[in-house]
Symmetry: C2
């Protein structure tokens, strides 16, 4: 990208079962927090991006819903959709819109209402071989089982990811599930799709998050110490990963490729990252992500979990926000919510869940399962 | 935008009732035509954009469907959705991705399968006051009636738009409806939503179109005389235009705003445009578009139709391709198909439907109805 993009404002709704708020209410809450945080006049927003997977109750009203919610009329608003990587890909496109010289200040909102879809719920994945088991837990569980078999990991390690993320989320006032859990509780929970019990799965959540991005030279107008987008990367592999003869069921190539793009743009190595918000839709996914992002070799991350290296006090805190596991996962909102967390961590505003000496953070979505990943690297120095 | 973007290759499937081809087949046909036209190696595609409103039979498989269809693995692929402006907005975002310095060569595909959706069909617009009449014909008809009442236009003028576009489409080998019609035939057709009879409405169509865009300095590698994206503009107004107290039912503000942005970026006035592909979802919409795009004053375009000024031999040929009316309207594909037509016109490759001395062309989508418009201005000189 021709220049680094500044993040000068962020906002996030409480995540949870928000039956009392509509899709547009959530967009408003998140966007006005971001306006206030940046001190930006909504009239100065040059363009907007909305990341949403299944917008509104009827679907297909995305860009105009953002315009209506915020009375952001006449402006260009684009909906971006990319499975579970929708939120971070919206951020990536907003960055490019600014770097292209077309807009100075861009709003990104990720929003999703998942709880009041009635009997419709999430769509099923169209995998004919997997029949009734082709749900997200079922597909990720296939890979988790293969990983456990190959590397000798047990369910206790998965449980420790849940314990860590619930611990972090319990310290986050906006998280969906704010209760701590124990390894025993996680292991005793009802089985969803072996090896995933209830506490190995992220919840179904409503929520929205927002960010205001701007041109580097305009950033001082809003923040004396803005946060910088150092690099972005997106990678799409096959939408039928479980058919792919090269798929080893141990991790996701899209994450490896997307993160390499982002590191290259940022001019850093994975080891330079101080903390990461990664896509822990299931406990195993977090373990795989840590490896796929290049923080350690394949088969090693579960040892990191055992050694506590991914906890808040560890050498690479993962999901200090509580992650999808505890913060919740309103699909299109999650990636932008990660940007919200990264910005707050890089500003040092996270209180008891603050990562010490946080200078470079990473946000990561993976969806599909494994078909698409997007990575955003943020830092507090240009 | 920091630089002009070159269009070095375009492709388009035949549009029509393509029951024998799947969504991914259509993507392949369009993209490989564009690869061949540009002489580009697919391995050199840095990123891709897919414009699709309701992808595939199950929805929600957009970006990965493009990757699978084209074996374009590991690359960044983003789905853009913006009602009927989906295709042109995908092109707009692809341009910004290149101008941002992130990618050198970008593929844009617009694709839609509308004919084999079974009982599902198009979603209904969620307008509670309009009840059972809240279909696309019903909503656009409200505005058409108001326009006819205000300016004294009769159904015969609408019919002449259909006659012109069928005439053009009959000369286009890829158009969905290649038959000419007469004013009498149009007026005698079954009524869909007064004043729109069957021939005032565009058909429901399957199809895909593609374009290869690249950085200005790379363009000579592919074409000695590339076509240039001179300007882009997108505008979103309310998703409830018929509630908007400022809505006069005579035209769409989003088109006026989007086109002004595109003209400003291109450094031109509306009168500089030599021909335009505009969003004639209904015959009246074309008349309104010609005014909203600034080619003439409100209430004047129907006189232009009567005077034959928008025919192939007129002073501002509108929809030389046949338009949505005759070429068809696979939603996300239409905007990219317009780019295909504009590029062919600007190259002088259109045979008997060639616009004389075509140097500046315009592509325009409007959807919602009226909620969102996107305009792309193309020229054969940088």
């Amino acid at each position: 990208m021709r220049d680094q993009i500044a993040v000068v404002g962020v906002g996030c709704t409480r995540f949870g079962d928000l039956f009392e708020q509509g899709y547009e209410d959530l967009i408003c809450d998140a966007a006005f927090q971001a306006y206030d945080d940046a001190g930006v006049d909504p009239a100065d927003i040059g363009a907007a991006y909305l990341g949403t997977y299944m917008p509104g109750p009827s679907g297909g009203k995305a860009a105009v819903s953002l315009a209506d919610a915020l009375r952001l009329y006449d402006r260009p608003v684009t909906r971006v959709e990319n499975y579970c990587a929708t939120g971070t890909d919206a951020v990536r496109n907003a960055c490019m819109a600014i770097a292209s010289g077309t807009y100075d200040i861009v709003l990104v909102v990720g929003a999703e209402k998942l709880k009041d879809r009635g009997g419709r719920g999430l769509p099923r994945f169209g995998h004919p071989l997997l029949g009734k088991g082709n749900s997200a837990p079922g597909l990720f569980a296939l890979a988790a089982n293969r990983y456990m078999h190959t590397y000798g990991m047990g369910r206790e390690t998965l449980a420790k990811v849940a314990v860590k993320n619930h611990y972090n989320g319990a310290r986050n006032p906006k998280a969906h599930l704010r209760s701590e859990v124990t390894v025993d509780k996680v292991l005793a929970a009802p089985m969803i799709s072996s090896p995933f019990g209830l506490f190995d799965c992220c919840p179904t959540t409503d929520g929205a998050a927002a960010a205001i991005l701007c041109r580097a030279d305009l950033a001082p107008r809003f923040k004396s110490e803005p946060i910088w987008v150092k690099g972005v990367g997106l990678s799409v592999t096959t939408g039928r990963p479980y058919y792919d003869p090269t798929f080893d069921y141990l991790g996701f190539r899209s994450t490896a490729v997307a993160s390499r793009s982002a590191y290259e743009m940022a001019g850093i190595a994975p080891g330079d990252i101080d903390f990461a918000e990664v896509h822990d839709c299931f406990t195993w996914t977090e373990i795989s992500n840590v490896e796929d992002l290049g923080f350690c070799a394949k088969g090693e991350a579960w040892h990191w979990v055992e050694e506590g290296r991914t906890t808040l006090g560890g050498d690479l805190p993962i999901n200090p926000s509580g992650g999808l596991k505890s913060f919740g996962h309103p699909i299109g909102a999650s990636g932008v919510r990660m940007i919200y967390e990264c910005v707050q961590q890089l500003r040092g505003d996270c209180g008891e869940r603050q990562v010490a000496d946080a200078q470079l953070g990473l946000a990561h979505n993976v969806g599909g399962p494994g078909a698409v990943s997007c990575v955003v690297v943020l830092g507090n120095e240009k």
